[in-house]
Amino acid sequence: MAFGRSSRKKPYVEPVTLKILVAGGFGVGKTTLVGAVSEIRPLRTEEILSEAGRPVDDLHGVEAKTTTTVAMDFGRITLREDLVLYLFGTPGQDRFWFLWDELAQGALGAVVLADTRRLEDSFAAIDYFERRGIPFTVAVNCFEGARRFPAESVRGALDLDPEVELLMCDARDRESVKNVLVAVVEHALVLADRSHATVTS
């Protein structure tokens, strides 16, 4: 079977790929945030779940079985030819959490996008990353018309650890989102340095 390329002189560049997760409640602007910095229009990848992959739901006796499709939107930032960062928006619905485990595996860090009108929607994500020791930064999406709260009162409401950074951001704005991502990676760097120090001392 021909693949339409007879010879290739230049070897393929095999990039180091990294991922950052973007979590938060439904409709908080995860895909908007991904789109603001991605070099590609956010793509959608889907996974089809059957009852075999969903042991928690008891479908016994359910006659009409249905497919559940879980969508994850993602974007890509090529930092260098050999260094590519992917951003994955996590599924907003709580019931698809088991998918997060796979997404979270090997993730360099996470953004928890929060909306001050529905702060409780981000509790679950914060809890998830705290428990797994995944470095994360909370970004409060400043929606137009939403009341602005001082960062300290938002921190208090979210009960954040002192070292977790909280930023105000505009998920539509490239510079704003870049700052959020830098904050995530800087936090990851601090944690990586610390664990390195623990190992060597």
Partner: protein
């Protein structure tokens, strides 16, 4: 392909003892998995990460090497020959569920037509120097 033929293929493709949910009612549920002949996991040892990159091997240029490949297999090789792509990008580009792409890429790995880069091992943070490069790269955007 008719539904009946598709279902038949699904049943044949599954291993004995593991096909109990490929019943008549389940047909539409697993339909995209007809492309994988009913297999839901790849032959490769490691589960392919969403950001694992698929890179063609020299053998991918060899015409007529494998007649058993499906059009989807061929399309994966073609897309990656343009530029190596991640599992997530392939799934989005081909409009196939991630699970299906994993199985198809697993076939191609077995066939030595492609290899797959392994991202940072699970439960390990990337190297500190890489993190610094990411920060610099983001700032320079």
């Amino acid at each position: 392909m008719s539904d009946a033929a598709e279902r038949n293929q699904l049943n044949q493709g599954s291993t004995p003892g593991h096909h109990h949910w490929f019943d008549d009612e389940a047909g539409p549920v697993v339909r995209p998995y007809a492309m994988t002949r009913g297999r839901t996991s790849a032959a490769t040892r490691h589960r392919l990460d969403l950001i694992a990159v698929v890179v063609p091997e020299p053998a991918a240029d060899d015409p007529g090497r494998d007649q058993t490949l499906s059009p989807e297999h061929v399309e994966i090789v073609e897309r990656c020959s343009e530029q190596p792509q991640s599992i997530a990008e392939l799934a989005a580009g081909l409009d196939l569920p991630v699970g299906v792409v994993r199985v198809l890429v697993g076939d191609l790995v077995e066939d030595e037509l492609v290899h797959v880069t392994r991202p940072v091992p699970p439960a390990e943070l990337p190297d500190v120097s890489i993190l610094r490069e990411v920060i610099n790269g983001l700032r320079a955007l």
